[in-house]
Subunit: 236 residues, 2 copies
DNA sequence: GAGTGGTCTAGACCACTGT
DNA sequence: CAGTGGTCTAGACCACTCC
């Protein structure tokens, strides 16, 4: 005689989140409207305020709500879409597809960075690496990396033919923050050769700069083969 | 005679997060290593377990730690980079740059979706809209949108010359989940004309499909003008 | 079965901010 | 100054999973 559990009726903070979302969708609370404070909501829904807080915090992180002390919580007027993009760890991404991963170093030169790189990495002396990551015999992505030799002097004597710079840096150098940018750019010649496409063809490029506190560590641009897609689920 | 507050010594859950990060960077805990359980850490650091939980949860979300019940918490072997990308709300993005926002509808046709769209949106009848969003007199992005008329029949009689489909849909149609994909694609002719570039040139394209539960609502592809970058900060 | 993280609760104090 | 969210605490129970 137990009541058959309703299939979709989350409890706890997820339940509160669902209920708030339901009311927003049903226009009980319209964009720009304030919603009740945490204490009132907790009382109404029969949960502790901590639980309401957790739910509302998640919704604010997702861009659905805007919260400010004293003035309270409102439904966002322009629910900004946010997506979490995972930066590929190439070996894993390729092996996850059941393909053999191959890595080949194409260039490793100590050289002063050109102006376009200085903008990302400072004008310290730098190591320029270019490497090809392949899925089986198919070129997958070209890694075009600059390592700041003032921040990471040990890089100069490291043999990047054996271990990819990404894996080496991960274990060796602390970094505290980073920036990424995604764009479509005309492919540099060396990368175009490796990818077997015409030089200058525009391809998907993902740039990442990482810093240890304020000291730039490395700038890397991934040149993806034509057809590659960076995919993700939208938050909420 | 008060002790001068140490400039960087966060308290509470942020403090726990900092301390855990410090130990990972200092290799006290190496990639793949297990770290103490929440109760022990809480006792050691002199905080409640709830506080430790909050800190470790955030680090797990950021991809730094991996947590599993019973087996405990480990330092991720491959700290996946994650970045939160904000999907542009075009009007706001343009006006935030101090430029006048302009919107022009280029095409609005009820038509059966071609196979490439069916893959995203089902083979229901659809409304195809193409619109140009400009910053001042400079073409900024072309919106290439398909609206599922079975899910959103009201769209057929709506005048999208006056209000952009994005703003109309936001207020009208609930959606519960979505997918995005970013790629470099040869620009469709109509978009190329509007952006004043050669047809077929490859440009940055952002696809977004949204669903109301399981029913596809809309598929939109944004064709960005050459040079556009999607930027974001790396998490942590 | 036992150990771990996941979550909830009730209460408390604090930080920020609009009036 | 007062109201709101932000956080901490101590304790508890539960869910999952490895042994």
């Amino acid at each position: 005689m137990t009541a058959p559990a309703r299939p979709q009726a989350p409890q706890g903070w997820r339940g509160v989140r669902s209920e708030v979302l339901r009311r927003i969708r049903a226009r009980v609370w319209a964009p720009g409207d304030p919603i009740p404070n945490e204490a009132d909501l907790a009382a109404e829904l029969g949960v502790a305020r901590t639980t309401v807080n957790r739910a509302l915090r998640e919704l604010a992180t997702a861009g659905i709500l805007e919260r400010r002390r004293r003035s309270g919580t409102r439904v966002a007027r322009h629910p900004v879409g946010r997506a979490v993009v995972e930066i590929p760890v190439l070996r894993q991404e390729i092996e996850a597809q059941g393909l053999p991963y191959a890595y080949r170093l194409l260039r490793a030169v100590r050289t002063p960075p050109p102006p376009s790189i200085v903008a990302h990495l400072s004008d310290d002396p730098a190591l320029h690496l270019v490497a090809l990551h392949s899925a089986g015999r198919v070129p997958y992505v070209v890694e075009d990396r600059w390592i700041n030799l003032t921040t990471v002097p040990e890089a100069e004597t490291q043999d990047f033919g054996a271990i990819s710079a990404n894996e080496w840096l991960l274990g060796r150098v602390p970094f505290t923050r980073g920036e990424i940018a995604i764009s479509a750019l005309p492919c540099m010649m060396l990368a175009a050769q490796a990818l077997k496409i015409p030089a200058g063809r525009e391809v998907l490029a993902l740039d990442r700069t990482t810093f240890d506190d304020r000291r730039p560590v490395t700038f890397v641009r991934l040149w993806f083969r034509p057809g590659h897609r960076i995919e993700s689920a939208l938050m909420l």
